[in-house]
């Protein structure tokens, strides 16, 4: 366990975006991730913030990106897709674990509030 490399610590917004990428399961792109966060977490986030964060996460090696083919519904423009890298997975797992450990025993109280 301790021989493994320490997983990256994520900021709150980075977490949201990474979860968005995870939920879109391989076909995530800016607007779909933005919508995922907006619909699920009820947080109005902006596209530019999502892209800025994705760019940063990519530089940290947590996600990778590739460019799709142009489509008609985008006016002939291409999409930039994102998917989780293993390090991204590890960082999310770590964040989830921390969250669970820190909330253990308080679930009912937190849910009620």
């Amino acid at each position: 366990m301790w021989s493994k490399k320490q997983a990256a610590v994520l900021g709150d917004f980075e977490q949201l975006v990474l979860f968005g990428v995870l939920r879109r399961d391989g076909d995530g792109y800016g607007a779909s991730i933005q919508r995922e966060i907006e619909e699920r977490a009820g947080r109005a986030v902006s596209l530019n913030a999502v892209y800025t964060t994705l760019d940063r996460l990519e530089q940290k090696g947590l996600v990778r990106s590739w460019i799709g083919a142009p489509t008609a519904e985008r006016g002939g423009r291409r999409r930039k897709h994102y998917a989780l890298e293993p390090a991204g997975h590890a960082a999310l797992k770590q964040a989830y674990r921390t969250f669970k450990l820190m909330t253990a025993g308080f679930e009912r109280r937190l849910e009620r509030a």
Partner: protein, 881 residues
């Protein structure tokens, strides 16, 4: 890549702001997601789109792969960045002030930019041809001294080509629309017939294929055509093998030899270009062809003049009787001037009006900065006392102004964007190059310069005074009396006087145009234009090559239409009321040929007068028995009847239409006199008009334009049935329009409505800004003088005197401004005389109304702070500060 679905402004701004690949991903995301959300709800989707778009504009994602950017630069840049940040903070702390300034600036700069974009596209930008600066057409000088653009006859063209030495190339063009038949059905195609040097003169060649060859210009030469890029796309799907294919124009086969470039524009924009194949017939002396010349490279419009004069006089002496005696000279003028000449007065006045609004905006912003400056004097004084250098303070103040100016400029673009749309939707038909109006780089640059200049000028006037006073003085002044700062008050007062004066000028202009519009609209045309439906169709194809065929088609159509439920009567005509008929000449029997008379020629069918409701005063109207084989007859209007013999004796007189030079110029009996109707352009009294039976009119006036006029019962909707009837009779005939005559009448008034609405809107904006400015100044004065007023009231001053004091100040300023404004308006209104109808530029009523309205509103703006002054409680007032 297109921007379908995305607002063009947003896409354009994003394109400026986002670099490289982000642009593609972000625009793509916005479009895809917007389309998806629009299915759920239009408004929510638009809100989402603009929110996301603006967020991306404010904080675009970092450049790909570069991570967060680091601030760079030397110390002075640092301090400048610091100034800007500080300014932003200061402005955010007083949102009311900031918002007022921004909105005011946005209004001024936005309106100015919108007007500029139209003026730029229509008048300033050179025509899109390589030799635009040498492209000329003919202007004629008339005995009255007037100079107007004019056309030429074939004889004249040939003569000039032979005798003139100033042109590198000379071409003529003619119009004439086509009935274009394709798989998609019949449609009307705008035609342009050109002589051989046309492409040389313009300096433009077809993008695909070739221009016309010499042999193709012979009369009855081969039928070849060059398509516009648009028609090539629409009708042939942009096929590269379009060359040498056959198309059908007016039932005849033409071979396509070329396609024009996509950015080719011409006024009016043609769909098809064909060879003119003009025959030089000495009898054909009508000035019906537009001339287009390319001056030799070394010549200018001025240096070409002697040659023009020489050839004109030579032509006149060799061809007596060809030109009207009224024409005394000819000159060349740039085509650009020819195209824009009719619109010059309107656009000049619009530019002036919007410039005046901008001045008011600047005055208001300056006043706002001045008032705020008074409050901030202490802040500045303390900072100076603490050791801030004067340069640093100037930097702060200028950074604030600049920031306000730039933010105002950005807001103004939104306004300009909507403004341009409103302008385009209001603008009357026929203004050249209107399609190319838009917010392009030139307009953006213009808006940037205007907003920065006005913002900085206001800032300099309003705020620099702050840093001029010494710290001790400022601290003392604001701490003790709280009294007004005299020199600041003087400047503010002068600005308000100027605002009132400018408003008075604009209001006068607007009032004159409003009176003009309603004068024109309330003109009784002399017939009943309500419940009349007009159907327009071009009878240009081969199957209508003779008058018999046209009449044949029309009588079967009328027969069907008259049988429709809801139709009271129906008739046919070669033109519409409220639009000009054919310009022609007539000679009255018993007078010399030289005494020909200019007339308005209208070919009409039976029941024309009863359908329109024009009273037949003497004799009879046009009847179904007036066929081609019958005795030639004509009905004239009162004005023409008076010209024939001064009144009642016109009946039975004989007139010849044309100059008796052609076999078709037959002599006709006048069989009826009808009432004059105002069916020409608005405001023009009835012209001498002759009504010739459709069946006897030959091809005159029928070729390119025909219409059916239908009198219907109120609320009867027969358009679909009429469409069906025409489709059954001739499925290849395109219907140009089916609309009520009231729409034609409204369209004829569109230029006046355009002038009135725009100047009215500017005057309204000016008035609003002025009243707000006046109110702000007085209200601020009352606040500043709270202590003084309180003291006066405590010492026993009556409330009435306090009201009087504030009122006197406000009304003195307003009165001074009004007097100046009225003087200015009296001086300027003569420039408007060409736009007015039924009202004099110095109308006492109009001026009185403007003065009363302006002073009344100023009184209202003054009363509010005056009454507030009386509510000041002495004990509260003396404790302030």
């Amino acid at each position: 890549v297109t921007d379908t679905g995305l607002p063009r402004l947003l896409a354009a701004l994003l394109r400026l702001r986002l670099g490289g690949e982000w642009l593609e991903f972000v625009l793509g995301d916005l479009e895809e997601e917007f389309q998806r959300r629009r299915r759920l709800g239009g408004t929510a989707a638009s809100v989402w789109l603009w929110r996301q778009g603006l967020a991306c504009l404010l904080r675009p994602p970092p450049r790909l792969g570069h991570g967060a950017s680091k601030p760079a630069g030397d110390g002075s840049m640092h301090s400048m960045a610091h100034d800007v940040l500080y300014a932003a903070r200061v402005l955010r702390k007083s949102p009311g002030f900031t918002l007022t300034v921004l909105l005011t600036l946005a209004l001024g700069v936005g309106a100015t930019s919108a007007i500029f974009s139209v003026v730029d596209a229509v008048m300033l930008r050179p025509l899109p041809y390589p030799n635009a600066d040498r492209l000329v057409s003919f202007f004629y000088t008339f005995r009255s001294g007037a100079i107007a653009p004019g056309a030429v006859s074939p004889v004249m063209f040939a003569f000039w080509k032979e005798h003139s030495a100033i042109f590198e190339a000379l071409a003529v063009t003619g119009g004439g629309d086509f009935n274009f038949l394709s798989d998609a059905g019949a449609q009307r195609a705008r035609g342009l017939r050109v002589s051989d040097d046309f492409f040389h003169v313009l300096g433009i060649q077809p993008a695909i294929g070739r221009a016309f060859l010499d042999g193709e210009q012979q009369p009855n030469g081969p039928r070849v055509a060059i398509l516009s890029h648009g028609l090539w796309q629409r009708a042939m799907g942009g096929r590269m093998d379009a060359i040498d294919r056959q198309i059908t124009l007016n039932d005849r086969d033409y071979t396509v030899v070329g396609v024009m470039p996509g950015d080719f524009t011409y006024e009016p924009q043609p769909d098809v270009i064909v060879p003119l194949q003009m025959a030089v017939n000495p009898a054909d002396i009508g000035l019906n062809y537009t001339i287009l010349g390319l001056l030799a490279p070394t010549l200018t419009v001025q240096s070409a003049q002697p040659d023009m004069e020489r050839v004109f006089q030579q032509y006149r002496s060799e061809n007596p009787g060809h030109l009207s005696k009224q024409m005394v000279g000819a000159s060349v003028g740039l085509v650009q001037d020819h195209l824009t000449a009719p619109y010059r007065p309107v656009f000049t006045i619009l530019l002036a009006a919007v410039g005046l609004v901008l001045l008011i905006v600047c005055a208001n912003v300056t006043n706002l900065l001045l008032s705020r400056g008074a409050v901030r004097r202490r802040e500045m004084a303390i900072r100076t006392a603490l050791g801030a250098s004067r340069g640093r303070l100037v930097g702060h103040v200028m950074a604030e102004s600049l920031l306000l100016a730039l933010a105002g400029g950005v807001c103004s673009l939104l306004l300009a964007f909507w403004g341009v749309r409103v302008l385009l939707s209001l603008s009357p038909a026929g203004i050249p190059r209107l399609a190319s109006v838009g917010l392009d780089g030139r307009v953006l640059l213009f808006a940037a310069v205007v907003s920065v200049v006005s913002g900085v000028a206001c800032g300099a006037m309003g705020s620099l005074r702050l840093v001029r006073t010494g710290p001790g003085e400022a601290l003392k002044a604001s701490a003790s009396t709280g009294g007004p700062d005299r020199s600041r008050q003087r400047l503010s007062s002068a600005l308000v006087v100027a605002e009132v004066a400018i408003s008075a000028i604009l209001l006068t202009g607007a009032a004159l145009l409003i009176v003009t519009y309603f004068n024109l609209r309330s003109l009784r045309p002399g017939f009943d234009p309500e419940n009349l439906l007009v159907v327009e169709y071009p009878l240009t194809s081969q199957r209508y090559a003779t008058a018999e065929r046209i009449v044949g088609f029309e009588s079967s159509l009328l027969e069907e239409v008259r049988a429709l439920p809801g139709v009271l009567s129906a008739t046919a005509a070669s033109g519409l009321p409220f639009q000009r008929g054919l310009n022609h000449v007539a000679v009255i029997e018993g007078r010399a040929d030289e005494e020909w008379q200019l007339i308005e020629y209208r070919a009409v069918g039976p029941e024309y007068f009863s359908t329109l409701g024009i009273p037949v005063l003497q004799g009879r109207g046009i009847e179904a028995s007036d066929i081609a084989a019958g005795p030639p007859v004509v009905v004239v209007n009162q004005r023409m009847a008076r010209i024939i013999d001064g009144g009642p004796g016109a009946l039975g007189a004989r007139i010849t239409i044309g100059k008796r030079t052609s076999s078709t110029d037959v002599t006709r009996d006048v069989v009826g006199v009808v009432a004059d109707i105002a069916d020409g352009p608005p405001g023009v009294p009835a012209l001498p008009t002759v009504y010739v039976p459709r069946g006897q009119s030959g091809m005159l006036g029928s070729r390119s334009f025909s219409a059916t006029l239908i009198r219907v019962r109120p609320f009867a909707d027969v358009a679909a049935s009429v469409r069906h009837a025409i489709g059954t009779l001739d499925p290849t005939l395109p219907i140009v329009s089916i609309r009520p005559l009231s729409e034609v009448a409204a369209a004829a008034l569109a230029p006046q409505r355009f002038n009135m609405t725009l100047i009215g809107a500017f005057a309204g904006a000016a008035l609003l800004l002025t009243i707000v400015g006046l109110y702000g100044l007085l209200s601020y004065g009352v606040t500043q003088r709270t202590r003084e007023i309180g003291l006066r009231v405590a010492l026993g001053a009556a409330r009435g005197r306090v009201v009087g004091m504030v009122l006197r100040r406000g009304m003195t300023l307003s009165l001074a401004g009004t007097v100046l404004g009225v003087a200015g308006a009296l001086g300027l209104s003569r420039f408007m005389s060409s736009l007015l109808f039924g009202v004099s530029g110095t109308s006492f009523t109009v001026f009185a109304a403007v003065v009363i309205a302006l002073l009344g509103l100023a009184m209202m703006a003054t009363l509010v702070p005056a009454v507030r002054a009386t509510r000041i409680e002495p004990n509260v007032a003396l404790r302030t500060d």
